[in-house]
């Protein structure tokens, strides 16, 4: 009963080349190393990882903003990776985005009306009046109003700017929106307003979200499934509740343990259970075998010798760790959704 995926990423590699002195190719930087994941229509996938994990590179690749070295990105049957960032308009308007920093994602030289109606100008034949009517409707949907149309971005607070960005992303009624850290630049007290807005729009319009974030707890609120990235690899993937409450991969566990609890007493108990450690000596990424083994408390000999395949986790999803070796390894395209 699984619907056909809307977005399917298979064995994606993204490599950046540092420019050398003469503008020639320099050293490679492997941002994403063989990532696979999929999103069904109307579904939200939370993609979680720390800085440098490659999560934003995946977002950019889906949007046609990052070079794909190898692998495939299929969206509604079309192969995006082969298009070399030149998506036909018919496809372009089905994937929109909201970026992290609302202070730089809105063009300072444009008015709110210009920003919100820009997608309509590019993709539709609507008249100016029709576009304005549409803009007003979109503004109201994000709890802003007509009076804001003529203002410039600098006149708004961070939360309001993010609402404007969302309104612009919704203008073409896309099937999917890539949300790249949409609330991490906002104050705590405004973050939930934006999360609620995103949730409400999804329920109303049936949009699929690819939600990129560093905060597992936040992602958990709104995602159907969560994928966890560590330095270019997806190490775990599964239903949101399962990953959050019963993480299978040691890295996911470490990530969850690192977030301080709101209960000081529980936090004290947790702290007592570990000793403060010096800054890790070994490189963050291991060249062979499991990428996490240098930091992993349960690393075994085997972890250095071979790369762990994706093992299925009993309660749903997969994790790439030999601790799960009793389980049956999944097929290569492991991330394809579980029921």
């Amino acid at each position: 009963m699984t619907a056909a995926p809307l977005l399917e990423i298979t064995d994606l590699h993204i490599t950046y080349w540092r420019r050398s002195l003469l503008g020639l190719r320099g050293k490679p930087f492997h941002a994403v190393r063989g990532a696979s994941l999929s999103i069904r229509p109307g579904e939200t996938l939370g993609l979680v990882g720390e800085s440098g994990s490659g999560k934003s590179s995946i977002a950019n690749a889906v949007l046609g903003l990052a070079p794909v070295s190898s692998g495939s990105i299929r969206f509604a049957g079309s192969e995006l990776a082969a298009m070399n960032a030149r998506y036909p308009p018919s496809l372009r308007k089905r994937i929109q985005a909201v970026f992290q920093d609302p202070y730089s994602s809105l063009n300072p030289a444009m008015t709110v009306e210009d920003i919100i109606t820009e997608p309509l100008r590019v993709h539709t034949e609507l008249t100016r009046a029709e576009r304005r009517a549409k803009a007003i409707e979109l503004l109201q949907r994000v709890s802003l109003s007509e009076e804001h149309l003529r203002r410039h971005p600098y006149q708004f607070s961070g939360g309001q700017r993010q609402r404007i960005a969302i309104a612009s992303a919704l203008a073409l009624q896309p099937e999917m929106i890539v949300l790249d850290e949409p609330v991490s630049a906002l104050d705590v007290s405004t973050q939930n307003q934006i999360i609620n807005l995103l949730y409400e729009r999804r329920e109303a319009l049936g949009i699929a979200y690819l939600l990129i974030a560093h905060d597992l707890a936040l992602v958990h609120h709104i995602s159907d499934r969560i994928a966890v990235m560590y330095l270019g690899h997806i190490v775990e993937e599964g239903p949101s509740d399962r990953v959050f409450h019963a993480p299978a991969h040691p890295y996911t566990k470490a990530l969850l343990d690192a977030v301080p609890l709101l209960d000081p007493q529980a936090q004290r108990r947790r702290r007592a259970a570990r000793k403060s450690a010096p800054a890790p000596e070994a490189a963050r990424v291991a060249p062979t075998g499991c990428p996490y083994r240098n930091r992993c408390p349960s690393a075994m000999k085997r972890c250095a010798e071979e790369s762990p395949p994706a093992y299925s986790v009993a309660a749903g999803g997969v994790a790439s760790c030999f601790l799960l070796a009793d389980a049956r390894p999944e097929a290569a395209s492991a991330a394809s959704a579980t029921a």
């Binding site: 903003l65 960032a85 929109q96 590019v122 690192a258 609890l261 702290r271 010096p278």
Partner: protein, 620 residues
């Protein structure tokens, strides 16, 4: 404003003279009268005559016309060549960019006047040819400016947004990027006009620009140079004309730059002689006295801080903040952006900067008032008694020096250690903050370290002189969550070992729960609640604290709608009178509009409902 008026007047007169030259000049500029050559100013010739007896004033007026034509021509050529090429290569990048930029670099590495000389050698001398030469020459600056702005703007997130929308490359370039290039381009144009005027005068002066007998300011100076010993006054009128014109254009450019630049205007300092703390105004005693605590290390009482911009009314940013921290204790100062938590930390160190001023209150460290110390005494306190760790470790270490040298510097200057001892102690400190291979890492530059490593170095430096108070300003906000955990652990360990008091400034209540003994919650420049950490989390009393707690991602694990605090934090200057949280509070009553004091003893809350509850408890 005066500057604009001056510049506009000068340029206006210049234009008028250029247009009306035929009517306003008293003589024909070419009419010679060898009988009255080299005359000093007189009623017949207001500015005297030159070597051929021509009237200097008339020649000066006709020179205006040449100046206007010349600059317009050269600037237009420069714009027409430079901007399109700059747009193209900046946006396209790749080989086009590489080749064009190497050619531009080559051109720029030849002195400008030499480039002009060579182009004139090819085209021959004369006004229009010289202006083509200057146009080509100055096109490189437009090209480089346009390319630079395009390169910068191309990486902006709003351009990525436009890509995602599906705007074509041309559309992105012309509709999204170009409007952001226009302001610097306008500034550059005015500056180029000035430069062209100077260059044209220079070329004419050496005889390669305007050809005699035509009158231009440069050729007039050429004549003047030959007769300096006979009549030096000949050099004055054209020189003053050039200076006034270039000055006006440049001033106009500066004003434009300042008014349309996105940069922040340079902040004005307070008057140099003003005391750091304004004389204490007659002011009601603090309505939130802090109960005295044993073993007190820091005590802040009734602190007020304002933004004092010259010519503007003072805007309060911190009002009536009172805090105390005991030895070995960690106080968490929690609040969102704009709450004033960071300023409180900076005020302790006397580092508020030029715009902010402390207008009321006292700060005592170990029982000694430090808020009215002079610069020298304050420098002795900083580092030795109070130290600070900043939010972003990659910017709080000096990029020009090795990290080891930055710690050793403090040890040598503050503690008088010898270079060798300082080096040894530095390595010990770096080792103590958990950095492996300390001696080797001491030689690293800040940009060679990860954020977590750099923050450990910053902590080592802050602790180098055993301060009795450490202020940590959002020290883990810029770090990944697993690194944050390591750094928080380190803070706790170090406090156990060094026994200093700590003021931990953060926006994250959960982080505060982890490291603090007591917490003071700040909102819009005032403390709204203080409590022991366990009590605060078990039973938050202020509606803002409650809202903040439930809004944290860890606060609930259910699906949206998540609990929210409506609205956003009001900016300083827009605070409501009375309770500053009232507009966002779901328990708002009429009494909230009056000023609410911070009440309580061990636990203090600034809320009318808490006030009433306490009153009731006392009465019953």
């Amino acid at each position: 404003m005066l500057i604009v008026a001056f510049a506009a007047t000068v340029l206006g007169v210049l234009f008028l003279l250029a247009v009306l030259a035929d009517w306003v000049s008293p003589y024909d500029p070419l009419q010679q009268d060898l009988m009255s050559a080299l005359q000093w100013p007189s009623s017949a010739h207001w500015l005297g005559t030159d070597d051929l007896g021509r009237d200097v004033l008339s020649r000066l007026i006709y020179g205006c016309r040449i100046a206007v034509i010349a600059t317009a021509e050269a600037t237009a050529i420069a714009l027409v060549i430079g901007v399109p090429i700059g747009l193209f290569i900046g946006y396209r990048g790749g080989w086009w960019d590489w080749i064009v930029m190497r050619v531009v670099e080559a051109l720029v590495s030849i002195p400008g006047i030499m480039v002009a000389i060579v182009i004139i050698a090819i085209l021959g001398p004369g006004l229009h040819r010289a202006m083509i030469a200057l146009g080509i020459l100055f096109s490189t600056s437009f090209l480089r400016l346009t390319r630079g702005v395009v390169l910068a703007e191309r990486e902006e997130v709003y351009v990525r947004s436009a890509r995602v929308v599906g705007a074509s490359e041309t559309r992105i370039l012309l509709r999204h990027i170009f409007p952001n290039i226009a302001p610097p381009l306008i500034v550059q144009t005015t500056l180029t006009v000035g430069a062209v005027l100077l260059a044209e005068a220079g070329l004419s002066f050496i005889g390669l620009g305007i050809q005699p007998p035509q009158a231009s300011w440069g050729t007039m100076l050429n004549t003047a140079a030959a007769f300096m010993d006979l009549n030096w006054f000949l050099a004055i009128p054209p020189g003053v004309a050039i200076i006034l014109t270039v000055l006006s254009v440049n001033l106009l450019g500066d004003v434009l730059r300042d008014s349309i630049g996105r940069g922040i205007a340079a902040a004005a300092p307070p008057p140099a002689s003003a005391p750091r703390v304004a004389p204490l105004l007659a002011r009601a005693p603090s309505d939130s006295p802090q109960s005295s605590r044993s073993d007190e290390m820091l005590r802040i009482e009734a602190l007020d801080i304002v933004i004092a911009m010259p010519g503007a009314t003072e805007i309060p940013v911190i009002t009536d903040v009172s805090l105390a921290i005991a030895k070995g204790e960690t106080l968490g100062l929690v609040g969102e952006s704009g709450s004033g938590k960071t300023l409180t930390g900076l005020a302790i160190l006397g580092l508020l900067g030029p715009v902010l001023r402390m207008t009321h209150g006292s700060i005592r460290l170990n029982g000694r008032a430090i808020h009215d110390l002079d610069q020298k005494a304050l420098e002795a306190v900083r580092g030795s008694e109070v130290a600070m760790v900043f939010q972003d470790p990659t910017t709080s270490l000096n990029p020009a020096f090795t990290v080891g040298s930055q710690i050793a510097e403090v040890l040598r200057i503050k503690n008088g250690l010898s270079a060798e001892d300082a080096r040894r102690r530095t390595v010990q400190l770096i080792d103590r903050v958990g950095i492996p291979r300390a001696a080797e890492r001491a030689q690293a530059y800040p940009h060679e370290l990860s954020g977590g490593m750099a923050q450990r170095i910053a902590i080592a430096r802050a602790l180098s002189c055993n301060p009795s108070l450490l202020i940590a300003d959002e020290p883990t906000t810029a770090l990944d969550v697993t690194v944050q955990q390591e750094i928080l652990d380190l803070f706790r360990d170090l406090q156990d070992e060094f026994g200093m008091a700590m003021m931990f400034v953060t926006h994250d209540l959960a982080v505060a729960a982890d490291v603090c003994n007591r917490i003071a919650v700040m909102y819009a420049g005032e403390v709204v609640e203080t409590a022991e950490v366990d009590a605060l989390f078990a039973d938050p009393r202020h509606p803002y604290t409650r809202g903040l707690l439930s809004a944290l991602p860890q606060g609930s694990s259910r699906n949206p709608p998540l609990p929210i605090i409506p609205g956003s934090v009001p900016r300083p200057g827009t605070w409501p009178t009375g309770c500053r949280f009232q507009n966002r509070c779901d328990r708002r009553v009429e009494a909230c509009e009056a000023r609410i004091p911070l009440v309580g003893a061990e636990r203090m809350v600034r809320c009318v409902h808490y006030q009433n509850a306490r009153l009731k408890a006392v009465l019953s």
